[in-house]
């Protein structure tokens, strides 16, 4: 009964406390969805109030009273006029709702890609995200960097969505609705964030054991910051002689079958690209902060942090783990 108020009011109040509320859009697709949502919510809200009132009225008005306890009420079998009325009015409502819906579907799905658009290929893997910028030659993981888009010179980001294994779904509620990543079925979506900041989301399509820890971070950068980030990512990996032992352990174990560190023999693609690992604030798709302790813990035993992730515990000696972790910390 209190669903109406909870549906309409509480989310708005909570929107301020949640970074993932659909009521706080920060880009055009999310904004047009919200406008449509408010329209649909108002229409369904009106229907709710009307029918709810009818129900409450008939229940209280026509309840059995001691006065009429022994007589049957008038037996009414139906009325064609009334049936017509409550058929035609809903039909009209549906037509209106549909037109509003179709407009937004078209506006979002069929939007042309402008010349200045940034292109990113997002590949879903069991429990982490791979992001490739084909035009910029960048490969990174889990944290997507895109430029803010101003209305006069729009620089929206167009994502091509692929999957390396099972289905996943890309969902940043404040930037756009979700779209699935399905193997052998490329999809597309776009967003044009209106302000800079970090926006959160996560995989929305059940993809296996660690579906819950397949989090997403989008960093919307100012044009200058984005350019700087791009330049940083385009560099080959830092070669630091002081961590040579760690690097050797890394390159002589199976790490390199799964991970790439550009400019070194490590060129595996099963796991995230580690070339600029330290430029990311989290590891393992948001399962933990990217701190030295967490890195060490992760390399020592991934299951302890993310039970069921597809990176095996490599059973390295403590010294080797320390060495590899120090090597990782130089990859900025």
């Amino acid at each position: 009964m209190f669903v109406l108020s909870s549906l309409l009011l509480a989310p708005k109040a909570l929107a301020q406390h949640s970074q993932t509320s659909i009521f706080a859009p920060q880009s055009t697709p999310a904004k047009s969805i919200l406008d449509l949502s408010i329209f649909v919510l108002s229409i369904t809200g009106i229907i709710f109030v009307v029918v709810f009132t009818l129900l409450v009225y008939s229940i209280s008005k026509f309840r059995a009273k001691p006065a009429n306890a022994n007589s049957e009420p008038a037996q009414v079998y139906g009325s064609n006029q009334i049936e017509m009325a409550w058929t035609i009015i809903p039909i009209l409502i549906v037509v209106v709702l549909f037109l509003a819906t179709a407009r937004v579907i078209h506006a979002i799905q069929d939007a042309p890609e402008p010349a200045g658009a940034v292109e990113v290929t997002a590949i879903g893997h069991q429990y982490w995200w791979e992001f490739r910028y084909p035009k910029l030659g960048i490969v990174t993981a889990n944290e997507l960097h895109i430029p803010v888009s101003d209305p006069i010179h729009p620089t929206p980001t167009f994502l091509q969505l692929l999957s390396a294994d099972t289905d996943h779904s890309f969902w940043i509620p404040v930037l756009a609705g979700k779209t699935d990543l399905i193997p052998n079925h490329p999809n597309r979506m776009w967003m044009d964030p209106h302000r800079t900041g970090i926006f959160l989301g996560q995989c929305a399509q059940y993809c296996g054991v660690q579906h819950a820890k397949m989090l997403l971070r989008v960093s919307v950068d100012s044009p200058q910051d984005f350019a700087a980030w791009v330049r940083g990512q385009q560099q080959p990996a830092v070669q630091d002689q002081s961590v040579m032992t760690g690097r050797q352990v890394f390159e002589h174990t199976a790490c390199i079958n799964c991970h790439t560190v550009s400019g070194t023999p490590a060129d595996g693609r099963f796991g995230p690209d580690l070339t600029h690992l330290m430029s990311r604030t989290t590891i393992a798709a948001g399962a933990a902060e990217n701190t030295p302790q967490n890195l060490r813990l992760w390399i020592d035993d991934p299951d302890a942090m993310k039970h069921g992730s597809l990176m095996p515990a490599m059973k390295l000696s403590d010294a080797d783990v320390d060495a590899v972790a120090s090597y990782m910390e130089t990859l900025r």
Binding site: F2, V3, L55, P73, I82, V94, D167, G177, V209
Partner: protein, 557 residues
């Protein structure tokens, strides 16, 4: 109609050794006993499914909880969904259909009694097979090996690469087997209704319950077939090197989704139409008026059946269909709301000007009306495809369909239990416990499922075993979980009511509700042959005619 139909004395039940009794129940082909078997079977699985739900809710009570491992959690929501849909709601509805349809159309049994028994035991075997997966599959170690692919089992999660061992096979085979059972029962219901109606009962004089079950059975035939086909294709993929759904080898993961939802959406109407049927019988009796707009109710049901066959891809708005397909499925989905709305209006029309008695069956029906209204409206929201790009796969959807299945179907079912149990056992259920059951359930239900919409709007996806703090989801999830326990307590009250009333409830007599359809003309419980002489009817409410010879319905229809 002949009057001796209403004067059968209650059956004399002799004490028999329990082996004989057991043997009788296992070998029975009587539609009433099979109906009760279906119902009891469903109640047992309701307890299993309920325990799984509670495990899920304890785990989600607060962020980063460690009550169960992710593996166990994933098995729990898979088993919970599969159990509730296929082994609770389906069988309990078949049980009521089995029990009531022959009685209400004045028949002595179903058209094919042996097929009836066979179908029941197939379904029963399906459920046992599913639960055997906890022990079988890859053995007894760890958490066992129940399926963990979700109740839609989307490809390619079910491919051998991602689902080694046999857990997915248990899921596939259990549904395949119980699907054949459902098809058998549906053929039986259709044949019974078309061929065994008593003299005078033309199609347009059938109780709405019979009409709606006829439509439901027709939909089962259409909907279960693609599901069974898909299960067989999946088995071919897994064991015979097929590539229907194997995306790595050029198959299509989206194909499975289409197969599943072309079954899945009609399925939800298969579940809700019998609930509509209960309402269409109970609301008139407790409003003391005939159903408003009988022909329109029948037409709306048939309309729902057809339209609901063309809406399945509204479950796939996020898989990247083109804008035309999305628009098509948006309008068909919104259109299904029209006949559904008409039904709600007709029930209100039935109460309008009536003399409403608030007995427990009616309370549950009123709960249905309020909750189904809201469920329909959240459905319309999801039908607006762009809105659904936000709502889909989130807790909002979970709240929507629980609003339908629990707030709607389960409420109608409880109404049906309180209404027809006196007929089945000969004893009334306690009104006092019934009211406790009703109010506890209402409170628990609204705590859980009203609140559950909000985390969805705040970005919480479904099927996650844990979540991050600081997203505004913690308190909401705690409330949701508390509500779940209140519902569990209400169910315990209900079960206690069933058991205690069975032994010492007040005697029901033939017609405790002063009702109008044929099942109330025979004794409670009815004798094996139902009617001493086959009744003859002249209107939709034969017992009204009998009780009001001065003003019979047959004058107006």
């Amino acid at each position: 109609m002949s009057s001796d139909a209403i004067t059968i004395p209650a059956l004399q039940i002799q004490e028999k050794p329990w082996v004989d009794l057991l043997h009788e129940w296992v070998t029975t082909v009587d539609h009433k006993r099979l109906g009760i078997l279906y119902i009891v079977y469903a109640l047992v699985f309701l307890v299993f499914g309920g325990i799984e739900a509670l495990i899920i809710r304890v785990q989600l009570m607060h962020s980063h909880n460690n009550f169960v491992s992710p593996q166990v959690f994933n098995r729990m929501f898979t088993m919970h969904g599969t159990t509730m849909i296929f082994f609770v709601v389906m069988p309990v509805l078949f049980g009521f259909a089995n029990y009531l349809v022959p009685l209400m159309i004045g028949a002595r049994d179903m058209a094919f009694p042996r097929l009836n028994a066979f179908s029941f035991w197939l379904s029963a075997f399906g459920g046992l097979l599913l639960y055997f997966s906890f022990l079988g599959g890859s053995g007894l170690y760890g958490a066992g090996s129940a399926p963990d692919v979700g109740w839609w089992a989307y490809a390619p999660l079910t491919a051998r690469a991602f689902s080694p061992g046999h857990s997915s096979d248990y899921w596939t085979l259990a549904l395949l087997v119980s699907g054949f059972g459902s098809i058998g029962t549906s053929i039986n219901i259709i044949a019974t209704i078309l061929c065994l109606r008593c003299p005078g009962m033309k199609l347009n004089r059938m109780p709405l319950l019979a009409w709606l079950n006829l439509v439901m059975a027709g939909m089962v035939l259409i909907a279960i077939t693609p599901l069974s086909a898909a299960q067989i294709m999946l088995l071919i993929d897994r064991y015979l090197g097929g590539h229907f759904f194997d995306a790595q080898a050029g198959g299509s993961a989206v194909l499975w989704m289409h197969f599943f939802w072309i079954f899945g959406h009609p399925e939800v109407y298969i579940l809700v139409i019998p609930a509509f049927a209960f309402l269409s019988e109970i609301v008139p009796v407790f409003s003391r008026k005939p159903i408003f707009g009988y022909p329109v109710m029948v037409a709306a049901t048939i309309c729902i059946a057809f339209v609901s066959l063309s809406v399945w891809a509204h479950h796939m708005f996020t898989v990247g269909m083109n804008s035309y397909a999305n628009s098509f499925f948006a309008i068909t989905t919104m259109a299904v709301g029209i006949p559904t709305g008409i039904k709600i209006f007709n029930w209100i029309g039935t109460m309008w000007g009536g003399r409403i008695l608030f007995k427990v069956p009616m309370l549950f029906c009123l709960g249905f009306l309020f909750q189904f209204l809201i469920a329909g409206l959240t459905g319309i929201m999801q039908a607006a495809a762009p809105f659904d790009w936000q709502l889909s796969l989130s807790y909002f959807v979970v709240a929507h369909f629980h609003y339908v299945i629990v707030g709607g179907i389960l409420f109608a079912l409880f109404g049906a239990f309180y209404y027809w149990c006196p007929k089945m056992t000969g004893r009334m259920l306690s009104e006092r416990l019934g009211r406790w059951h009703f109010w506890l359930f209402v409170i628990g239900f609204h705590m859980t499922f009203d609140v559950m919409h909000i985390p969805g709007l705040l970005g919480m996806p479904r099927r996650i075993y844990t979540y991050e703090p600081g997203r505004g989801w913690d308190t909401l999830n705690l409330i949701v979980s508390i509500g779940a326990f209140i519902q569990a307590i209400a169910i315990l009250v209900f079960v206690w009511n069933l058991i205690s009333s069975y032994f010492k409830g007040a005697k029901a007599g033939n017609d405790p509700w002063d009702a109008w359809t044929l099942e109330w003309s025979t004794s409670s419980p009815p004798p094996p042959y139902n009617f001493a002489t086959i009744p003859v009817v002249a209107s939709r409410r034969p017992l009204w005619d009998l009780k009001h010879p001065e003003d019979p319905d047959s004058l107006y229809e």
